[in-house]
Amino acid sequence: SEMTVRDALNSALDEELARDDKVYILGEEVGEYQGAYKITRGLLQKYGADRVKDTPITEAGFCGIAVGSAFAGLKPVCEFMTFNFAMQGIDQIINSAAKTLYMSAGQISCPIVFRGPNGAAAGVAAQHSQCFAAWYSHCPGLKVLAPYDAEDARGLLKAAIRDPDPVVFLENEILYGQSFPVTPEVLDKDFTLPIGKAKLMRKGKDLTLVAFSKMVGYCLTVAEKLSKEGIEIEVINLRSIKPLDRETIVNSVRKTHRAMFVEEGWPQCGVGSEIVTVIQEHAFDELDAPVVRVTGAEIPMPYAANLEIQALPQIDDIITAARKLAKK
């Protein structure tokens, strides 16, 4: 059967609310509005206003309240309408949620999930189009997950809610409506995916493409197309950005000897910077060519469609870079 990413997230939340009464959801428009992107559709009706809490538009405040309640043992799922707005509460995410277990010498854990759409959507310009994967993955104490398909969305979100640590869960608005095949195993109410493990999406011998979230789909399309030209591409879906599954990446590079990373975020100190470093540290002698990055352009996102398209990696950009790298 098939399932949209939206339904995968919605069903994961539903099942975890049913499983553990310490789990509750709070955020802007999560209740009566049914979710700004309908991820929480139906949950208020099913679980009531004590467990699906609409907040005012005050991210610093409700993010701090969520963290405080997690210190006390509840398991909040704190929805940000988009991660752009989480910057209003980022102090609580990093200084309070991520560091308190360590500062308290192991006394106070923070079982919380911060979730919402991250990165560029379409036509919403600079303040609403930014990838925060690199920002959060910088910080010890946080775990950072980014699902691509319905399987990822269900398995990772359920794992995140059950995890005793603070998890930043980066979704993608464009993917919400996309359908993906799901197995009965994925639909099981206890299906979870391990945090810190990447998934090999496609095997290949000529080139390794590494990506997360929406760019995984682009890389799979590119692999399909270049296969017809005789270039066999291996595609790795990171799933977890922190902890990072270095082993899967390095093992693939040992096989293909060529690697490329694709992300929509900005290049400097981006997730790709870390991937390139990992490869050169662990597989330098295996490389037949320098590792390549395809990233978002280093500019605030423009509004006009023709400009926006040039600010983000497109399938053709990845094809061009992949062809060039395969021939080196």
């Binding site: 006390a72 309070s96 500062m103 104490g141």
Partner: protein, 365 residues
């Protein structure tokens, strides 16, 4: 000692609520307990001051001397099932929530026997079992956190409140107003305690707050102001506020107090206020002297008081010596408790290698 003593404390100022009576009852044994606790705090902070100047304490160090009646009165009105969170000025909270002076001193010295085993330092002490949630180094961040603690009490239908303590400086923080609004909307049992020591670091209240009647700044949330140098006034107003918060939701308390030391050890505390002002506070409003006078006026044995003082001094001296002699944290503690579920995590070391962290809240391994 169980004979009731009737005292009139300074009347409370009220905002959108009826003030509690300013006639309070106490006993010699209660006064004795308040005196003892405040004096222990005072001597501990004086010792911290000396040890800091002797360079045994690193980094930031914010002392609580002068403000002892605030915490003492609060704790007298609460149980350890009520949650508490405060700012970086937290040494005394560690004691009030069941910790020892030795643990505080050892933490300040960066020793393995410290309140947080040398990992937190002056600003980050906690006691999860006694519902003390820190110790927060970011001005104002403890306010929504405190609302979250209260949210959890309400969610679990517990008959308890949370107290979040912040200074007059933090009272201007935006996140305070965000937390206040949600607390009021959701009837969260939280007491916002503004410890007004009249200076946000070195900025006097009239220079940082357009309205420095902090108990009125909740707008729709009621507020009360009490003499924060009088432990009995504080206890009275907090007891009243706890009952109110459990029935109706948030309330603000402004407790008028004074810090004798500078903001932190790097602040001599004398460029933005006068020596005369500090001396006047010490001679006219000192919270410990106030209780001492009450004890003696009501027949408490002066010799017994002297004996108590001596014992406290000895307790603090012993704590300092034991803390000095305690071992520093072993190197491998560096990697503990970054995550509660560290599976698949490897953390990078300075030399480029990786370490597998462990979750070991008892520090057994």
């Amino acid at each position: 000692a169980s004979d009731k003593i009737l005292i009139e404390v300074q009347p409370f100022s009220a905002h959108k609520i009826e003030a509690p009576s300013n006639k309070v009852e106490t006993t010699l044994s209660e006064l004795r307990a308040h005196y003892l606790f405040m004096y222990r705090m005072r001597r501990m902070e004086i010792a911290a001051d000396m040890m800091y100047k002797a360079k045994l304490i690193r980094g930031f160090c914010h002392l609580y001397d002068g403000q002892e009646a605030v915490l003492t009165g609060i704790e007298a009105a609460l149980t350890k099932q009520d949650s508490i969170v405060t700012s970086y000025r937290d040494h005394c909270h560690h004691i009030s929530r069941g910790g020892t002076i030795e643990e505080v001193m050892a933490e300040l010295f960066g020793r393995s026997t410290g309140a947080t085993k040398g990992l937190g330092g002056s600003m980050h002490m906690y006691n999860r079992k006694a519902n003390f949630y820190g110790g927060n180094g970011i001005v104002g961040a403890q306010i929504p956190l405190g609302a979250g603690l209260a949210f959890a009490h309400k969610y679990r239908k517990e008959p308890n409140v949370a107290i979040t303590m912040y200074g007059d400086g933090a009272a201007n923080q935006g996140q305070k107003y965000e937390a206040l609004n949600m607390a009021a909307l959701w009837n969260i049992p939280i007491i916002f305690v503004c410890e007004n020591n009249h200076y946000g670091m070195g900025t006097a209240e009239w220079r940082h707050a357009k309205n420095s009647s902090f108990y009125t700044r909740g707008d729709f949330v009621p507020g009360l102001k009490a003499d924060g140098m009088d432990v009995l006034a504080v206890k009275q107003v907090v007891s009243y506020a706890k009952k109110y918060a459990l029935e109706h939701g948030p309330i603000i308390l402004e407790l008028d107090t004074y810090r004798y030391h500078g903001h932190s050890m790097s602040d001599p505390g004398s460029t933005y206020r006068s020596r005369d002002e500090i001396n006047a506070m010490r001679t006219e409003r000192d919270p410990i002297e106030r209780v001492k006078k009450l004890l003696l006026a009501n027949g408490f044995d002066a010799a017994e008081l002297k004996k108590m003082d001596k014992e406290v001094k000895k307790e603090v001296d012993d704590a300092v010596e034991k803390a000095k002699a305690a071992p520093i944290p072993p190197d491998h503690w560096l990697w503990k408790n970054v995550y509660a579920a560290p599976a698949n995590t490897e953390l990078r070391k300075v030399d480029g290698g990786y370490n597998t962290p462990d979750y070991d809240p008892e520090y057994k391994n």
